[in-house]
């Protein structure tokens, strides 16, 4: 397929440079790929990001620790709860506190539901970018049902800001377990349906197999994490290697694929959804049916809202906590969690004041996107679309 550009009379042969983005139907976010084309083949690709740079890290330095929770939603909006939980866990790590058992289990369930909603979307969008539009809308049905569970327990559908440092905003409703189990039962039929629709299809196989492969060592070297890295056959899941919450008490597998192509990424995500359903079932069973959800430390936890409206002491307490923020010891800590896209880390440097000195977010998609030019150079334009879709970029997190 190699063509040589010939010099015609008076015409300088130039490769065609095409912009994919920042506003382009296949870029679900604002990012730009500058591709140098030779016919249909991409010879060189360059990425330009930063269109959604909001300065979250700078803003964090003038906000209290509690206030920043709402910003984490906006970073990973397709899996907001995973980001919330990752952040509060990072602050709790810095504080050196441990939340009650029931709170941990609730967080596990919510994080897994968020993972499911993200995977459902990412598979749907991947299929949509390859041309199978219908799968995306099937995914939307499931996502709406997950959002129903979220709405019942957190009050929000997309951005919840539900966890708090040291606990949760409020307890989950009584039928939370049943709702979760009801959804968990839908995961397997959904996965089977999508697999049936896509994997028996020759076009899907041709479009995804062998596309976007880089060597396995290079994948680690590029800092890829999450399902993407596991599609390269590297067994690195933070839920297993550095268990947080109650993941060490749950029996689940880490799906691996050796190929590293778009098909493997899709398969890993599908298998992970099934594992998430398995985690949900176990978590609902093992979750304490009653008990505290917040730690018993009123220097950290806000007083209940109805108490605050009734007594002056609670009001002062609330006021102090909101205005002054919580007391965090001087020090620094890095805490990472496994979000649907990979390792989300918060590196917090505190000097003991009410604001952090530095809040660094280690965004998974930032590192996952980096090897994109390497994955698509030499391939077709269509392949670059498939690869981009398989990376599942969330620009809020990418640019922060």
């Amino acid at each position: 397929m190699k063509t040589q550009l010939k010099k015609a009379d008076g015409l300088e042969p130039r490769p065609m440079v095409i912009n994919l983005g920042p506003s382009h139907p296949s870029m679900h976010n604002t990012l730009r790929v500058i591709a140098e084309l030779d016919g249909e083949i991409i010879r060189k690709a360059d990425l330009e990001i930063g269109y959604l740079h909001c300065g979250f890290e700078k803003i964090a330095e003038s906000k209290t620790y509690h206030q920043f929770i709402a910003f984490t939603d906006r970073m990973g909006y397709t899996s907001a709860l995973c980001n919330n939980i990752g952040y509060v866990l990072a602050v709790e790590k810095l504080l050196g506190i441990d939340v009650p058992e029931r709170c941990k289990w609730i967080r596990v369930i919510l994080a897994e539901l968020a993972r499911l909603s993200d995977h459902v979307m990412s598979i749907g969008l991947m299929a949509m970018d390859i041309g199978a539009f219908t799968v995306m809308l099937y995914g939307f049905i499931e996502r709406e049902l997950i959002y129903d569970v979220f709405e019942a327990s957190t009050g929000g559908r997309m951005t919840m800001s539900y966890p708090r440092i040291g606990g949760l905003v409020k307890d989950v409703p009584k039928d939370f377990g049943e709702r979760v189990l009801k959804f968990a039962d839908r995961v397997d039929p959904f996965c089977s349906e999508v697999e049936e629709l896509l994997e028996n299809n020759r076009i899907w196989n041709e479009r995804t197999r062998g596309v976007g492969v880089i060597p396995r060592e290079e994948a680690v070297n590029w800092g890829i994490t999450g399902p993407l890295l596991r599609a390269f056959g590297v067994n690195y899941d933070i839920r297993k290697v550095n268990p947080y919450l109650t993941y060490d008490q749950i029996d689940f597998e880490v799906p691996l694929r050796p190929e590293g192509d778009v098909f493997a990424r899709y398969k890993v995500k599908m298998a992970e959804m099934r594992q998430s359903a398995r985690i949900l079932r176990q978590a609902v069973e093992k979750m304490p049916k009653s008990g505290p959800i917040n730690i018993d430390d009123h220097g950290i936890i806000l007083p209940p809202k109805d108490g605050m409206k009734g007594s002056i002491e609670s009001l002062i307490h609330h006021f102090k906590l909101i205005i002054d923020g919580i007391k965090i010891p001087a020090g620094e800590s890095y805490f990472c969690t496994e979000t649907p896209n990979g390792e989300l880390g918060f590196y917090i440097v505190s000097d003991g004041g009410r604001h952090p000195v530095r809040m660094r977010v280690r965004p998974p998609t930032f590192y996952n996107l980096q090897p994109f030019p390497r994955m698509v150079e030499g391939g077709f334009i269509s392949d670059s679309i498939a690869v981009m879709a398989s990376l599942n970029i969330a620009a809020g997190e990418l640019d922060r």
Partner: protein, 353 residues
């Protein structure tokens, strides 16, 4: 040609043209409600009963939009391209027989505008022009997506037209011209498919020429640029391809052109392979008024079924990659079609001897 015949032909032209224009909204609502059904959602249901007026609302919206001509376009081609896209498939409809005919006294009202002896050749000639619209539009708008789309469009049309023509050649070869004008006349191809083998089995070409049928089916999707071969306008890669810089009525003309092409291809599939207006067990070509009307209804039912197939395929399959498309066209369909022609010839000679 008598004056009466000229007047009747003019009326038929008008009727077919209007019917085609009206086929677009029907196809649009069919597609939108059909895809909603496939995708487990409701779809447009607010405009009129069952949302039937939705396409008209869309059309009204498009007509009243500001007609922008970007500064960097090639004006002449930019204005010509939508017309081209609309006219080519419409003109091709001239030879499509959509019913048997009604005999009144010694005047026969045939449900076909023009029954050429070389109808098939006319049709293929017109169809080969269909890529001009795409090329003009893609080139005129001076836009990289458009240029890429035009390049793809032309390559795709050329490769799949060959396969399509070869498939039709096999059909023409297997058509018995004894009962009609010539085996390249569309009316003869349809008339030959009427009746049955052994009294019950339909004489449709889909059964005698199955390979040609599937080649034609695949080429048909490629010719109309529909999924899985919609490279010319695949949204995720080329934004809207050759339509990118068009707006308002010019966009809607491109859009209509595409749907009329779809209608045309469905009609051709019905004509060439599914027996056209004939029903295997009933003779609708006796010239009676009831037979004539029934034949039109039979044609429409078949046509709708094929158009539904278009929609069904579009919302089920992913899109192929460009090189795979070319591979399929040149390495699979064209050789297969050639083999099919040779096989048809052999069988024909053997049957005759």
């Amino acid at each position: 040609m008598s004056t009466l015949e000229i007047i009747v032909t003019c009326i038929k032209v008008l009727a077919v043209f209007t019917a085609l224009q009206m086929a677009v909204p029907v196809l649009v609502i069919m597609e939108r409600r059909g895809v909603s059904f496939i995708q487990d959602r409701v779809g447009p249901d607010r405009c009129g009963p069952f949302g039937l007026l939705q396409p008209f609302a869309d059309a009204a919206k498009l007509v009243f939009k500001e007609d922008i001509t970007p500064r960097h376009v090639d004006k002449l081609l930019y204005f010509l391209a939508p017309a081209f896209c609309l006219i080519v498939p419409t003109v091709a409809f001239a030879v499509v027989p959509f019913g048997s005919g009604i005999r009144i006294g010694d005047f026969t009202l045939s449900f076909q505008i023009a029954d050429f002896r070389v109808g098939v050749l006319y049709l293929l000639a017109i169809l080969s022009m269909s890529s001009f619209g795409v090329v003009c539009a893609g080139w005129a708008q001076n836009n990289k997506y458009g240029t890429l789309s035009a390049l793809r469009g032309v390559a795709q049309s050329v490769s799949y037209e060959i396969a399509m023509c070869l498939a039709v050649v096999a059909v023409v070869m297997s058509t018995n011209s004894d009962s009609g004008v010539s085996s390249t006349a569309m009316s003869t191809i349809v008339a030959d498919q009427g009746g049955t083998y052994l009294g019950f089995f339909p004489k449709w070409n889909v059964f005698t020429q199955p390979i040609a049928f599937f080649i034609f089916l695949a080429a048909m999707y490629a010719e109309t640029n529909r999924t899985p071969f919609d490279f010319v306008e695949c949204e995720q890669e080329l934004v809207a391809g050759y339509m990118t810089e068009y707006g308002s009525m010019k966009f809607s003309m491109l859009f209509m052109g595409e749907y009329i092409a779809m209608a045309l291809q469905s009609a051709l599939l019905v004509t060439f392979f599914l027996g056209g207006w004939t029903l295997p067990w009933v003779d609708l070509g006796d010239g009676s008024i009831a037979g004539g009307i029934a034949s039109v209804i039979v044609f429409l039912v078949k046509w709708f079924a094929v158009a539904w197939l278009y929609i069904w395929v579009r919302w089920t399959l992913p899109r192929l990659r460009y090189d795979k498309l070319m591979d399929l066209g040149w390495k699979a369909l064209v050789p297969l079609a050639l083999i099919n022609i040779v096989a048809t010839a052999f069988v024909g000679v053997w049957l005759r001897s």
